[in-house]
């Protein structure tokens, strides 16, 4: 047994092997990472929902609490719905609106008649998240209700 040679052949990893390994690791880790982001987004959406619902109900409730005959009909864009601003020339009622940044309100009030008599007023309020610095999500919520003439 002369010159026993122990060959220790060590082959390096090829680029393809490394790329496959990195790809597999990414495939496993990316969904894990995205899970954390999804949780944060969910909270942001919940906070936006609370803000938009609160703003929509504020407007709907004050219309519901007003005397039926004084509730004006028509389309009320965002710039007409201002705090302490008259709802319309036909009514002495004024809007009472909280200052909430990053939202836009829009309201539609229409009459529902039966046999020529106005029985209901249909109120639809849409609140859209515009966000500050135009970075809002653009999500919106619409609250609809019927106001009945009670007498």
């Amino acid at each position: 047994m002369n010159n026993i040679l122990i060959a220790r052949h060590r082959r390096a990893l090829t680029l393809v092997e490394i790329l496959v390994a990195v790809g597999l690791l990414s495939a496993v880790m990316i969904p894990v990472m995205l899970t954390f982001g999804a949780g944060s987004r969910g909270l942001t959406m919940s906070a936006e929902d609370l803000t938009t619902h609160t703003a929509a109900l504020e407007l709907v409730e004050q219309m519901m609490a007003a005397p039926f005959d004084l509730v004006p009909t028509g389309v009320f864009p965002h710039d007409r719905i201002r705090d302490n601003q008259a709802m319309s020339p036909a009514t002495p009622l004024r809007f009472h609106i909280s200052d909430v940044p990053g939202i836009e309100r829009r309201m539609t009030v229409s009459e529902v008649s039966k046999n020529g008599v106005v029985r209901f007023k249909k109120i639809a309020v849409t609140v859209t998240m515009t966000g500050q610095n135009a970075k809002g999500s653009g999500r919106s919520v619409t609250v609809k209700t019927l106001l009945a003439k009670e007498n």
């Binding site: 609370l50 609490a65 007003a66 005959d69 009472h96």
Partner: protein, 203 residues
């Protein structure tokens, strides 16, 4: 039998040790990797705590506002007050708001009281029915809370003259700094609540 000199030697394999530089490089890389992973996990853990705190604050803020709104919708004029003073049925102080509500049980009314207990760090809000045991709605998360009863009477001539309107202006900041020093997102509630039943009965 002759044994050659070479074959008498054990098979010789030359193993070279790691140099100090190699060890230092490996240790530095390992430290960076482990440090990165620990930092990442710490941030995830902090993010979870923050998210949990924000979620609880959102839930408590939403529940408080929903209950107050629902109670105010069912608020009725205080029968113990003379008719000309019944628009004062909703009483508010910096630490509490109280009003009678229609319960639907044998046409009786119950007095609902919301109490705000301010604290150095974060206060709490509770609700009690007819002076009973208060139920905590927001526990140690209220940064600030104000509620103000606003009234309006339309004096202009023509339709609607004399119409009385009442609303409660609510401003609350809930969350932010939670319990055990966990900092979450602050929920800002700014709204006006209209007690529809009370307004109709006053008009």
């Amino acid at each position: 039998m002759t044994v050659s000199r070479e074959s008498a030697k054990p098979p010789y394999i030359r193993y070279r040790g790691f140099t100090l530089v190699e060890m230092l490089v490996v240790m530095a890389i390992a430290t960076l990797l482990i440090g990165g992973i620990v930092l990442l996990l710490t941030q995830f853990r902090r993010g979870f705590s923050k998210g949990e705190e924000t979620g609880v604050a959102l839930q408590e803020a939403g529940m408080f506002l929903a209950m107050l709104r629902n109670d105010l919708i069912n608020a009725v004029p205080d029968p113990t007050l003379p008719p000309e003073k019944r628009q004062e049925s909703v009483r508010a102080t910096p630490t509490g708001i109280s009003f009678p509500v229609y319960t639907g049980e044998r046409d009786r009314t119950a007095r609902i009281t919301y109490s705000y207990q301010p604290a150095d760090t974060r206060g709490s809000i509770s609700r009690a029915v007819d002076g009973g045991r208060p139920r905590t709605l927001v526990n140690g998360r209220v940064a600030s809370l104000t509620w103000e009863v606003c009234t309006e009477q339309i004096t202009a001539t023509g339709p609607g003259s004399g119409t009385k309107r009442i609303w409660i202006d609510v401003h609350a900041r809930i969350g932010g700094q939670g319990k055990a020093g966990v900092k979450g997102r602050e929920i800002v509630l700014t709204t006006k609540l209209f007690p529809a039943r009370l307004i109709r009965q006053l008009n």
